[in-house]
């Protein structure tokens, strides 16, 4: 380095180099991507709220309790049977898929670990998350509905198939976070493996398991395609889980969105608002569990 370059220091206020400009452009593009993602979410929520709120809350609680108009062009509220149907179908799916999924994850992480069968199940479970929901619906139609007829339970079976791999995946992630020292301490006290899992490992991972399962439930509550095949169509209340055709919020939205009657479309928006509120509340509750877990760590 010559003396002159020391006596004449580079101008630090010079125009930014192409490298710096390129960096700025790409950083801005990444920030722009975030904005782009937020736009459809906000637009959809805006439409749902602005077009659905009048019908949903105008004659409160008529929309939540009254039966669905049989003639779809008739104006007026009523989604009670669909709300009950969604709760029945999703509740049934939860009762089937969550215990099975947790047990499956317990096998994968506590018993099978990296054995051949566990690796196969883990791999196929990931693949199963990608099975299209129509396929699940047709599968349940062929194996259940053809023999036993339309019912909320058929829908619950289909949703349970969709939820199962999700619950397995999230539960196994949570079991990985339980420190091995906890298990070793329990073994050192002479506890059997099953007791250790039930009284030490699962309670330690519980908030995370609950959170993962709630996310899966929220996702399942909005599913439509499988219900078209297994649940049938009804406009009156049907509190029976195992018999007679039922309906659900998502199925009603699908049917009314295809309709050209303004009254039916209005009911579709109101049902969409109800469904979105339901799924968002479950999701936010799930995230609170995660936040509490993070706090504890």
């Amino acid at each position: 380095m010559t003396a002159s370059s020391i006596t004449n220091p580079p101008d630090l206020r010079a125009r930014p180099s192409w490298r710096a400009t390129k960096n700025t452009i790409l950083m801005t593009a990444m920030g722009g991507a975030v904005v782009l993602v937020a736009i459809p979410l906000i637009a959809v929520l805006w439409s749902v709220v602005s077009r659905g709120i009048v019908m949903t809350f105008a004659q409160f609680p008529a929309f939540f309790t009254e039966a669905i108009p049989v003639v779809s062009r008739r104006p007026g509220p009523g989604m009670g049977p669909a709300i009950l149907g969604t709760l029945l179908v999703t509740g049934g799916a939860t009762v089937i898929a969550v215990p099975l999924g947790i047990l499956g994850a317990v096998y994968l992480h506590e018993y099978g670990q990296s054995g051949t069968f566990a690796r196969l199940v883990r791999f196929m479970s990931t693949v199963m998350t990608g099975v299209p929901s129509v396929v699940m619906g047709l599968f349940v139609y062929l194996t259940w509905t053809l023999a036993f007829g339309y019912s909320a339970f058929g829908g619950a079976l289909a949703l349970a198939c969709l939820m199962l791999p999700v619950v397995i995946g999230s539960t196994e992630q949570m079991l990985k976070l339980v420190p091995p020292q906890l298990r070793e301490a329990a073994y050192a006290l002479g506890t059997t493996k099953s007791r250790t899992i039930l009284t030490v490992v699962l309670p330690a991972a519980l908030p995370g398991i609950v959170s993962g399962s709630l996310l899966a439930i929220a996702r399942a509550a909005g599913e439509t395609a499988p219900l078209l095949f297994a649940v049938g169509a009804a406009t009156a209340y049907n509190p029976h889980l195992f018999s007679e055709a039922n309906t659900a919020l998502s199925v009603q939205i699908f049917g009314n969105a295809n309709s050209s009657f303004p009254a039916a479309q209005e009911r579709a928006w109101a049902a969409a608002l109800t469904l979105v509120l339901l799924t968002f509340i479950v999701t936010l509750v799930a995230r609170t569990f995660t936040a509490r877990l993070a706090l504890k760590r």
Binding site: R19, A20, N23, L26, M27, G31, G32, A33, V34, V37, P40, L41, A43, V44, L100, G101, L103, G104, V106, Y107, E110, Y111, F117, V121, F123, M124, S125, V127, M128, G130, V131, P132, S133, V134, V135, L138, F139, L142, L164, P165, K193, S194, L198, L215, A218, G222, E223, T224, A225, S250, I253, F254, A257, N258, A268, A272, V276, F280, T283, R287
Partner: protein, 288 residues
């Protein structure tokens, strides 16, 4: 003696629990196997030569050519991928490499909410707002846009997982050499996570091809369209199944199940490939 009896009893319960756990895990394999077997058996009569060669689909004449629907599925999924991949990668890189830590939690919430909006609500918005109100019409493009919105969360969250496996030392090395933040991403983050990112995109592709209700509402339900024109109405395999099932009777039903089997095979194939790519790349980066 009593002690040994007690131990025997405990061991019995312990064994029972482990058997229960194995059985629960086995349900995954059982369901996948049953899907493949029952559906293929029902659909078998519909798989003639014309199923994969004819472009005509007419229930009245009993002709079922699936080509236009296979085309529609691939074309809309391709549009969705072209839109969703740059956005998802941008968001994933922004969250992991650029954003200040306090911004991460709201971003996770945003993605969660986007992922949990039911597909039928996206469909409703697509058909009544995007197609009717903004005049986009029901078309391949409208379907592609809606599908893109729906697969952004999954691609983003998988990409984030992959990107976060980049060792800090590699990033710090780039920065210490005077690289700008983008140069650091380009030189260490992207090469490191290339395999995993390909897998993440493919999983998104699988989702886009299988998405049913939103596509059924906005794609336009045109029969027999094989065209590159994105503004034309078309149809896709899941949309046909959902829209026609209600009015179908026997040979028609078998043809629809055959469509479902075709869809199942394609999506499972894409998923198998994607999952093995992701798992391999995750294992390699953990081993390194």
């Amino acid at each position: 003696m009593q002690l040994s009896e007690l131990r025997g009893h405990k061991q019995y319960a312990d064994r029972a629990f482990s058997v229960l756990a194995v059985a629960a895990a086995g349900v995954v394999l059982l369901v996948l196997g049953m899907i493949a077997i029952t559906m293929t058996r029902r659909a078998w009569p519909a798989f003639g030569t014309e199923f994969f060669s004819s472009t005509r689909w007419s229930a009245a004449e009993g002709i079922f050519g699936a080509l236009p629907f296979i085309w529609g599925t691939l074309y809309t999924a391709a549009i969705a991928i072209v839109i969703a991949v740059p956005i998802s990668l941008g968001v994933a890189l922004f969250v992991t490499q650029v954003a200040p830590p306090w911004l991460k939690t709201p971003m996770v919430y945003l993605m969660d909410l986007l992922a949990v909006v039911p597909s039928v609500v996206f469909g409703l918005w697509g058909v009544l707002v995007l197609a009717n109100h903004f005049g986009l019409g029901r078309s391949f493009l409208t379907a592609g846009i809606i599908l893109a919105v729906m697969i952004v969360p999954i691609i983003t969250s998988l990409s984030r997982e992959v990107i976060e496996t980049t060792p800090a030392s590699e990033k710090e090395a780039a920065l210490a050499l005077g690289a700008t933040r983008w140069e650091m991403i380009n030189a260490s983050v992207l090469p490191h996570s290339k395999g995993g990112l390909v897998g993440a995109v493919m999983l998104g592709l699988g989702r886009a091809m299988g998405e049913t209700i939103a596509a059924a509402l906005v794609i336009g339900s045109a029969i027999g369209q094989i065209t590159m024109n994105p503004f034309a109405p078309g149809n896709s395999m899941p949309a046909v199944i959902a829209n026609e099932w209600g009015e179908a009777d026997q040979p028609h039903k078998a043809a629809l199940i055959a469509l479902a089997v075709t869809l199942f095979v394609i999506t499972i194939g894409v998923n198998l490939l994607a999952t093995s790519i992701v798992q391999r790349s995750m294992k390699r980066s953990r081993g390194a």
